[in-house]
Structure formats: structure tokens, C-alpha cells
Amino acid sequence: MRETRETSSSTADPRQPPAVKPYAPPRILADELPFDYAGFLAVIFGITGLMFRYKICSWLAIIFVAKSLANMKNMENDLRQTFSAVS
């Protein structure tokens, strides 16, 4: 066993206040965001519904838009962007 002795250190307080590092959220570029399948499907269904006049396709598009909105992650004011885009 190559473990070093120092059992005392295990009983000592492991906290080190000077070693505190504040939280830095990992920066994700816009290109590396996980692909929004729900939004993509919503667009496809919407176009299909418009072109071929299938009611159910348009409704499925609305459902997938709702799914995409529900799964939105709060990365840098996504909600604000979507609202401004919609309006």
C-alpha cells in the first residue's frame, strides 16, 4: 500500500476558505448548443401542413413548438429572444 500515513489530516477540517474559487459557468458557443429536434420538427411539419394543406401537420407543428418552448434552457435570456422574435 503506497498510501501515505497522515490519518490526522483526515480528521482535520478539510475546508480551505482561501482556496475558494467562485463559480464560472462554462461558456457554450452558439454552434455547440444541443440540437433542438422539437423546433426542427415543428418547422418541417409547419411547412408540410402549409404546402399540402394537411390540417394535422399544422397542429403537430403547434404541438412541437410547445414542446420546444417547454424544453428551453435558461441560457442567456432565451425567453426574451424568442418573445422578441415572435413579436
Binding site: 475546508r15 475558494v20 467562485p22 403547434i62 404541438i63 424544453n71 434552457k73
Partner: protein, 504 residues
């Protein structure tokens, strides 16, 4: 008078917009039935009576009838009754016209309007033969709603006035898709709020068990949460309705700890159903970034067999440096059978699987009891990415009420931080691990250099392009300047003559 009925259908149909495909088939069915009825009646009457002057008219109006049917039958303006009734008669013997997709006469007004017109048409022919027809024609209108009730597609309706009701019910059922989708959306929205609350409850239960005052993380780290660390700052960071993060920092041997809770997407109805089918579990992943001097050459992963194999394939460092470890036959206590160890060095694996750990968590008995929540464990100092020295633990989150079950697995986290922080390899183990790492370092250097060279070449190419464009512009400008100079000279030549004249 076989075809006054069909003429009436045609007129009514022309005043009606075409419905969907299902309704179309239904109307076709009704139309065929009615035309069969009237066909049968007309046959009987033909056999019984004599016609006079019928054939001559037939020839003239047959062609008109064919024309009248095709272009006009869907127009809203009603066709002249006489031509239709006259021309429809020859058709009666040939069966119903193929192109006419009949529609149900749902307007009482149109039905009543047809009757006087039809009766005037009847007068042209033998009344005796067609006496009962208006009554019979009225009957089909009442029969067709009853037909509708028999027909599986249509709604059940009683009689005459119920035609309007059938019309309304038809409209209701024709909105079937809309009703279905709107109800789905309503359920979706309700489920969103329910699922959101459920997920928040699980995250808060975990935090109250392990991250509040006098809890395990409070005793191990001086800063908890992503805020200032004061009393009121929030402990958990909500990244999505199903992703929660917990940050802790200020401990020996490590820079910080990030716990990521990935819960089932209970807020999204479609994803919830999919997760049920795929049997997804709530999980929590601890990522601990070790200090540069705190971790020696350790590449180790432990998981259940299937998971371990996929980890060995997917993780670059495991794939490169580590191999699957066969079970130790030395008689020493080892991890449970269902677990597989992937390690660079057997010695290191043996050192890190201490007796304490095997007794408490990974041994046969202990694992049966406490190991349900354990998913995987991955220690590496060659992590591909910005943080090289990383400890990763992945556990399954129990139910909100059973958070205590996770305690023993969570105590592994600070235990291993200390263990690996203090651990030093033996000389033999170090010599074995040095060679592949040196190789890896060289390769990464080469890649960096080649990337830099490519970037330099790109910059040079761009610069050349810019210069060439500038030169081209300059040359164009130079040409213009020359032309201007020439004009100026010419003007000057002309100029002095003018002056001479003026002086005079």
C-alpha cells in the same frame, strides 16, 4: 321520373361546398343507394306505362345533359329544371352519372324549392306513372339521415328536422382533429406545471439532505452554491426544467465540485412518455476538478459490465490508456461480480479499492444493499478538455422521500478526493504509466503545431488577396488619373487662346 331525384341532388349539391374525403365517400354511398331506389321505381313504372315522344327528346338533350353535368354541377347557381329533368331521364336507365359526387340535401329550403319545379317538370310526362315519386323523393331525404345513423361514419339522426342537427353534428365531428389537438395542448400545459413542480421537489429534497447546514457538503466545502456564499444565496442553479446544478468550492486537493442533477423530463408530456418507454432514471453526476499537484497518474473506471464496456469505447482517455481488468484471483476481497473495472494499472486499481470501500460499498454484500444507486465512477488525469484532472461519480437519484438512501454513496465523494489527493504511485507503476503519457503529449504537441501552421497559411493567403485587390483598385484609379490629366492638358491648350481673345 327517375332522375328528378338526382336533379334535386345536383342542385343542392351545387349550392354546397365540398366536404372532406370521408364525408365524400359517405355521400357517394347515400347517393348510390338513392339512385338505386329511384332506378328500381322507374323500372317498374316503365314496364307498367307507355311513353310517347320520349325518344326524340332523348337524342337532343342527351348531349346537353352530359355537358350540364360536368362543368356546372358544382356551381352555386341552380340549373334550369326542365333541361335537367328532361335530360336526366335517359340517364336513369344507365345508372347514376359517374362524375357527379352527390351531396346530402341538408337545406330544407332548397328541398322545398325543388319540389314545385320538379312537379312542373312532372307535368310534361305521364302523371300516373310518377305520381308517387314526390312522396318517394321526400322519403329518401328522411331516409338518408336514418342511413346516416346506420352508416358508421355519420352520426345518428331521426327525421326531417333532424337534418339540421345532423348538419351540426357533422360539423362537430369534422373538427375532430382540432378538438383532439387542443385537448392534447391543454393536457400538455397542465403537465408542464405538474412536472416542473415534481422536478423542483426532487432537487430541493436532495439539497435539503446534502447541501444545507451541517450536511456532508457543508462540512467539506467552505463555499456552497453559485452565489456569494452568504446566508441567502441560492444553493441550486436551475438550468432547465430538468437540469439542476450545485457548486461547491474551498477544499484541500480540489478546485471545486459541480453536481449536475439530470432528471426525467416530467414537464414535457411527449418526453415523459418516451422516458417511460426507455426506462430513464433520475441521475446526479459529481465532477470534481483536482488541483494540479494533487493527482498522480490515475486512469480508472468502475461500472456495471455493460456500462463499463461502453465507457471504455467512448471515453478517449480510457480507450487510450486503460484496459479491462480481469477479476483478481489472489483471494483478496474485491468488488462485486456485476461490476467491471477498467484501469491503466492493476496496482493503482488495487490501491484505490481499499478495504473500507469494499466493505462499505463495493463488496458483494454491501453492493447488494447499497449499490442500487451506483451507476459509474471515473478517475482520470488525462481528460480530453480544459480540465485534465477530473473525478467523476454518477449515481441514480432515489425518490424524493428516500434521499437518505444516497448517503453512503455520497460519502464516497469526499473520501476519494482525500484518497487521490494523497496517493502517490510506486516507482514501478509510475515507470509503466510514463511512456504512454509522453507519447500522448508529443502527439498533442504535433497537432497544435500543425494547427498553428494552417492558421498562419490562411492568414498569409488572406493578406495576399487583400493586397491583390488593393493593387487592382489602384491600377483602376491610376488609369482614371491619367485620363483626367490628359483632359486637363487639353483644356489648358484651349484655354490661353480664350484669354488672348478676351484681352482684345
Amino acid at each position: 321520373m327517375a332522375k328528378p331525384s338526382s336533379s334535386r341532388w345536383l342542385r343542392i349539391m351545387s349550392g354546397f361546398s365540398s366536404p372532406s374525403g370521408d364525408a365524400l365517400l359517405f355521400f357517394l354511398a347515400i347517393f348510390f343507394f338513392v339512385s338505386l331506389l329511384t332506378h328500381g321505381i322507374s323500372r317498374i313504372s316503365v314496364l307498367a306505362a307507355e311513353f310517347e315522344g320520349f325518344d326524340a327528346d332523348d337524342v337532343e338533350h342527351e348531349e346537353e345533359a352530359n355537358e350540364a353535368f360536368d362543368p356546372k354541377f358544382l356551381k352555386s347557381s341552380p340549373l334550369t329544371p326542365t333541361s335537367l329533368t328532361q335530360t336526366s331521364f335517359p340517364e336513369s336507365h344507365h345508372g347514376p352519372p359517374p362524375s357527379s359526387a352527390a351531396e346530402l340535401p341538408t337545406d330544407d329550403a332548397s328541398v322545398s324549392a325543388e319540389k314545385p319545379l320538379a312537379s312542373s317538370a312532372f307535368e310534361l310526362w305521364d302523371d300516373e306513372e310518377f305520381e308517387g315519386i314526390p312522396v318517394h323523393i321526400a322519403d329518401p331525404t328522411s331516409e338518408s339521415p336514418s342511413l346516416a345513423s346506420e352508416n358508421p361514419v355519420g352520426d345518428g339522426v331521426g327525421d326531417g328536422s333532424a337534418v339540421n342537427a345532423s348538419n351540426r353534428q357533422w360539423r362537430l365531428s369534422s373538427y375532430f382533429i382540432e378538438i383532439l389537438c387542443i385537448s392534447f395542448l391543454i393536457i400538455f400545459i397542465i403537465n408542464y406545471f405538474i412536472g416542473k413542480r415534481q422536478n423542483e421537489l426532487i432537487a430541493l429534497c436532495w439539497a435539503s439532505q446534502f447541501a444545507t447546514k451541517d450536511s456532508i457538503f457543508d462540512k467539506n466545502f467552505s463555499l456552497l452554491g453559485t452565489g456569494d456564499g452568504k446566508e441567502d444565496s441560492p444553493l441550486l442553479l436551475k438550468e432547465g426544467q430538468d437540469v439542476f446544478k450545485f457548486y461547491a468550492s474551498g477544499r484541500r486537493y480540489c478546485q471545486g465540485l459541480i453536481a449536475t442533477m439530470e432528471l426525467r423530463s416530467r414537464h414535457d408530456l411527449i418526453a415523459r412518455v418516451m422516458d417511460l418507454l426507455l426506462n430513464k432514471k433520475d441521475s446526479i453526476t459529481f465532477g470534481i476538478v483536482m488541483n494540479e499537484d494533487a493527482m498522480d497518474h490515475v486512469v480508472l473506471a468502475i461500472a456495471r459490465k455493460k456500462m463499463a464496456r461502453s465507457m471504455h469505447k467512448d471515453a478517449k482517455d480510457l480507450h487510450r490508456f486503460a484496459t479491462v481488468m480481469a477479476t483478481q484471483s489472489s483471494g483478496r476481497r474485491w468488488v462485486a461480480e456485476e461490476l467491471m473495472v477498467v484501469t491503466e494499472s492493476k496496482e493503482v486499481a488495487g490501491d484505490l479499492m481499499t478495504d473500507v470501500v469494499i466493505d462499505q460499498v463495493f463488496g458483494e454484500k454491501a453492493f447488494d444493499k447499497f449499490g442500487k444507486g451506483f451507476i459509474s465512477l471515473h478517475f482520470t488525469d488525462q481528460h480530453p478538455g480544459s480540465c485534465k484532472k477530473l473525478l467523476l461519480f454518477k449515481f441514480a437519484l432515489p425518490h424524493a422521500n428516500n434521499m437518505v438512501d444516497l448517503t453512503r454513496l455520497i460519502t464516497l465523494v469526499p473520501y476519494y478526493i482525500d484518497l487521490i489527493g494523497r496517493y502517490k504511485l510506486s516507482i514501478q507503476a509510475r515507470s509503466k504509466t510514463e511512456a504512454p503519457r509522453a507519447k500522448a503529449a508529443q502527439e498533442s504537441l504535433k497537432e497544435m503545431q500543425s494547427a498553428r501552421q494552417e492558421a498562419l497559411q490562411k492568414r498569409r493567403a488572406e493578406k495576399k488577396r487583400l493586397i491583390e485587390e488593393a493593387e487592382a483598385k489602384l491600377s483602376a484609379e491610376a488609369v482614371r488619373r491619367k485620363e483626367e490629366k490628359e483632359r486637363a492638358r487639353q483644356m489648358k491648350k484651349l484655354g490661353p487662346k480664350v484669354r488672348m481673345l478676351r484681352s482684345h
